[in-house]
Symmetry: C2
Subunit: 542 residues, 2 copies
């Protein structure tokens, strides 16, 4: 027996319809690439998104076509998303921080048919576009006056291109499982893998994100997504802000402390989201200038583990609540947020910060478990760690083209590749990447914990821990360090410093000194290269 | 092209799974029918719901079977809902405030196969059950010790019945559009009409309800749903509270001021929801006793228009924020909530109360429009009223058995039967019922506005306005009044009092004095009877 409720598919453009109808005059403020701060509203953005959809259709693009975007956070980028989705197309965000060869590979793999690009990236596109076989058109997100000379034969200025459509268009209607967006993960190994969001997953994800114990955002918030739209959908804020009708402030290309502060202050931003590096720059700027944050209430920090000092400074010096969060491109991306359950509501000072070092708990719509290598669940005791697996309506069930099959199991669980423990209250903490964790005599050792400990030594600039083969224990930890300029700590000094701060059997068997530790394009330590480099290393204990 | 996200159907029992997993020790406190306050947790409720599902299946009930509930708000009632839904059954809430004949008619129409019943209603069930042809079993929500003698041959005590299942059961999995719950509307005319909620609509409705600009509830809230589970799903709180892991406090059969106050105080309730009558009783109790509400932050008030004095007293005397809301059984039930958009954020005092008299704005997931009789949209200007029509994933698309077809149009809009206006900020205010509104020379006159005005006269106990036929204007308003005991206001006094407070052409053409105004079982004015009574009335202006 079926229910008798309306068939009202969860389609992304309904979000923009709602924003235009119920919050039509709410502003979307952008720092433009051309320079000035520009203002629009949800009502105007909807009208322009309709023009985009109409124009794309007139230009011959079809439902299912992938349309790339290589752009900063701005109203034009966001209205382009909605225009693309509204005609049944798939917005495909490209990460300009990848190597040009990777972007080229990704565009060819996705078979992007058009590309919306910010002025900043036009030189990059001029280099790679000729090699993207599927690409028919490059739409430069500017007006005629700012349109530069370009070697691209098929480039048009966005505003001119847009003006040729009158917006007399009705959104296409289709199954809510239709593809809406696409984003490739930049793994540390192998080719990038494409995740394809559906309209349903985007809408449900936005609803989950808004909930009081997730981001907890309302129409009265002024939201500054510093996290880029090309970085896992700006954590969904491009959908959740219009869903609730919050004013949006888009930072464009400038994410330095002074520029972010200027927007926080002049636009009276109450809520923001970014990776730790951005907040470090802002806090440094505030300390140098003595400025305060009278409007900002809350920041979400994710992308990598948030250093304790950032949380502490925001809360104690500026009265800003920090929500540590974790997610993945494959999860749309939100997986957990460290908001306060009643069990932890009374905590203050260091005890509160201890909890906030965790990546938080999963909202309704994200199922989570930790297992051993055989898939047997591990207890939620706050210390036993295992492979972190997730399930939910905004979690990928496959990658585009079928790559990475081994990450998905028959029961629908996605293996995140992270290793984590869960506490009795459901708070998760990432302890390592699965491929980096060291398995010594059947027990797991977290390389991240050891690295965090090692970099506490005053003479160490950077540290990486890898497993090196051992005849008795299978693997044992090797600590690889880069000393600070002019410093020359000894192995004994370093191990002496660490001793007593971790379980004895976790202590590295040796320390190797190197001039440099290899990194990926997005700044992560490239442990595969490091393991290759040390594959024949003989530990003194072996 | 489809997205590649997980097929994770929105099923109600996943809400309870989430609550048990992430908020397992959170309490559900009930005032039991037997007397004492009893406590359980989401984890225990899930175990018992699994037992219920298992036992129902073993007793031969099948997916799609309607299982009635005739019970107050309590943990047993709620776990029964989840047990029924978890085996694919349909919980069917029966409103004990209806006349026994209506309940009997509804049970036969729904073909209820079993009935969970509170001790309170056993005498009622003993009377009607023999006439419900489909009914196989009556499960009395008590234990063996409290099980009374009963004339019902097929009655069992819940706790005994439950104990025979060990709970080793897996929820059934099925399409998210599967029927989950059922509720009949008690119209003022015609037979009751059945609304059938789906798992999808219940889950989406719960998500919408939790959002910061809707109820805005979190895991740190302690929620007291005074609004009965048999009254439009307790406004979704049976799903939204476990979804976010909030502590629940269930009032059982006692809704008087002292009993509600006791729970608010001892359980430190932060959030509650009820109809105006309940709040009137509470406020009266507080005024008599001088007690305060130190824990309560927010109340949602709906079911009928909230008198300004209630809003004012809660906010000014007790520091409790009031959210005026509107909904319908056909809408799961939430349609709009009067939370603060930035446009109204600065208002205080009377100006704030003016806005709070409105029923509020529609959240994402509820589309709203007002039209004339021909379906042409009317402007959102805060004064032009029209038929209120809604659309959304938690709005009915039909009634069980096909009744009331005329309320649904081809574009999916449901005609609420209410008449309302919308302001420029999207705030809706109900002005009348469509069948009551008076159409005078093509213009509409709100009977509710006239009634509210008339009862402000010190000598009037109750007032009703109906349209009476008029040779020139089609219809003109007649004011029907019941005078207060010992009072005898004249027609001239009353019209003199009203004069100048409404548009001249809205003024009633006459006043009729009656001893009593007819009411329905649920206390609404029965205007059909009144219109019948005055159908040959000749207005002095005619």
């Amino acid at each position: 027996m079926l229910g008798l409720m309306q068939d009202w598919p969860l389609l992304c453009h309904k979000i923009l319809d709602h924003a235009a109808r119920q919050h039509g005059n709410r502003e979307v403020v952008s720092r433009s690439i051309e320079g000035p701060i520009v203002r629009t509203t949800y009502d105007q953005m909807r009208k322009r998104a309709l023009q985009i959809a109409q124009r794309l259709e007139r230009d011959g693009y079809e439902p299912g076509d992938r349309i790339g975007t290589l752009a900063w956070n701005g109203a034009r980028h966001l209205e382009a998303w909605y225009g693309i989705m509204g005609m049944g197309g798939v917005y495909h965000t490209l990460n300009p921080r990848l190597f040009p060869d990777q972007i080229l590979w990704i565009m060819n793999h996705a078979e992007d048919k058009a590309l919306f690009v910010d002025l900043t990236f036009l030189p990059l596109v001029e280099k790679i576009a000729p090699a993207v076989k599927s690409l028919r058109q490059v739409i430069v997100l500017t007006d005629k006056a700012h349109m530069p000379e370009t070697s691209l034969p098929n480039a048009v200025a966005y505003e001119e291109w847009l003006a040729e459509a009158d917006g007399d268009y009705r959104w296409k209607s289709f199954d809510e499982n239709t593809a809406a967006g696409m984003c490739y993960t930049s793994g540390t190994t192998g080719d990038p893998k494409g995740v394809i969001y559906s309209h349903r997953s985007n809408v449900l994800h936005a609803m989950i994100a808004c909930m009081p114990d997730a981001m907890g955002i309302s129409a009265r918030d002024v939201i500054l997504p510093v996290v880029p739209m090309f970085h896992a959908n700006a954590w969904g804020l491009g959908q959740s802000a219009p869903m609730i009708g919050a004013k949006l402030v888009m930072p464009g290309a400038k994410m330095d402390g002074a520029s972010i502060y200027e927007l926080l202050d002049t636009e009276k931003v109450t809520f923001s989201a970014a990776v730790p590096t951005v907040w470090l720059m802002l806090l440094q700027y505030l300390e140098e200038t003595g400025k305060k944050l009278p409007y900002l209430n809350k920041v979400v920090i994710g992308g990598s583990a948030c250093p304790r000092a950032i949380t502490q400074k925001f809360q104690e010096n500026y009265g800003v609540e920090v929500i540590h969060a974790w997610g993945m491109t494959e999860m749309s991306p939100l997986g957990s947020l460290c908001t306060v359950k009643p069990e932890y509501a009374g905590l203050e000072g260091e005890a509160r910060l201890d909890v906030q070092q965790k990546q938080g708990h999963a909202p309704f719509g994200v199922e989570m478990k930790v297992t051993d290598d055989e898939g047997v669940e591990r207890p939620w005791d706050g210390k036993t760690f295992g492979r972190l697996k997730v399930r939910g309506p905004a979690v990928a069930r496959a990658y585009y083209g079928g790559a990475g099959e081994e990450q998905f199991d028959a029961e629908g669980w996605f293996d995140t590749g992270d290793v984590a423990h869960m506490d009795a209250c459901g708070y998760m903490q990432i302890t390592d990447r699965a491929k980096d964790v060291i398995k010594s005599g059947g027990e797991w050792i977290s390389t991240i914990d050891l690295e965090n400990l090692a970099v506490g030594h005053p003479d160490i600039a950077e540290a990486a821990v890898i497993g090196v083969s051992h005849p008795k224990w299978d693997e044992r930890p090797l600590l690889v360090v880069v000393s600070k300029p002019g410093k020359d700590p000894s192995k004994e000094e370093i191990l002496g410093y660490m001793n007593g701060k971790v379980a004895k059997w976790w202590m590295p068997d040796d320390v190797a000194f190197v001039a440099e530790i290899p990194h990926t394009a997005t700044g992560k330590i490239q442990k595969t290269t490091l393991r290759e480099q040390f594959k024949d290393y003989r530990l003194p204990t072996a």
